[in-house]
Amino acid sequence: MTTSSRVKYLTGVRDHLSRIADEAQQAGLTAEDALAVLEDREARRASRGGGR
C-alpha cells in the first residue's frame, strides 16, 4: 500500500463507518422516543383497566 493510499483507505473506512454510526444514532433517537410512547400507552391501558 503506498503512502497516500493508506490515508485514503483509512479515511474511506472511517467515513463508511461514520455514515452508518450516524444512521444508528438517528435510529437510537427514534427508538428512545418510541419508549415514551410505549410507556404512555401502557399507563393509559393500566388506568383504563383499573377504572373497571
Binding site: R14, L17, I20, A21, A24, Q25, A31, A34, L35
Partner: protein
C-alpha cells in the same frame, strides 16, 4: 560509532572543520542512510496502524450495522405492540451500550487516520520523535 538523532548528527557535522571532500561525502552519505532508515521506521509504524484497522474493519462494520438494525427492529416491535415497556427499555439499554462500544471503535479509527496522515506528512520528524524517546534505536554514525 555513536548513536544520534538526525538533528544531533547534523549539529556535530556543522562543528566539524577541515573535512576533506571525501570525508564530507562520507558523513553526508551517513546522514542520507540515516534518513532512509528514519523513513523506513515511519513507514512500518504507518503500515502497522493500517493493518490494525484492517483487522477490525469487518467486525466494526458488522457491529455498527447490528446496532442500527437493532434499534429499527426494536422500534418495530413497539409499533406492533409485541413488547412490554420494561423489555423494550432493557433492549434499548443493551443496544445503547453496543452503540457506545461501536463509537469508541470509530474514534480509534479516527485517531489512526490522524496518526498516519501526521506521520506521512513528515516521516523524518516522526522518527526523530521516536529516537528522542528511545536512544537505543537511534541510527549509528561513525562520528
Amino acid at each position: 560509532m555513536a548513536q544520534r538523532t538526525l538533528a544531533e548528527a547534523r549539529s556535530v557535522i556543522d562543528q566539524m572543520t577541515g573535512l576533506s571532500p571525501a570525508q564530507q561525502r562520507e558523513v553526508a552519505g551517513e546522514v542520507t542512510a540515516a534518513q532512509r532508515e528514519a523513513r523506513s521506521l515511519a513507514d512500518r509504524m504507518c503500515q502497522g496502524r493500517v493493518d490494525d484497522i484492517a483487522a477490525v474493519r469487518d467486525d466494526a462494520l458488522a457491529e455498527v450495522c447490528a446496532v442500527r438494525d437493532g434499534f429499527a427492529a426494536l422500534k418495530k416491535d413497539a409499533d406492533v405492540g409485541r413488547i412490554s415497556a420494561r423489555d423494550y427499555q432493557k433492549r434499548l439499554h443493551d443496544l445503547q451500550a453496543d452503540q457506545r462500544r461501536a463509537e469508541r471503535r470509530l474514534a480509534d479509527i479516527d485517531q489512526a487516520v490522524e496518526f498516519v496522515a501526521g506521520i506521512e506528512a513528515d516521516p523524518i520528524a516522526y522518527a526523530e520523535g521516536v529516537y528522542a524517546k528511545f536512544p537505543l534505536i537511534r541510527p549509528n554514525f561513525s562520528f
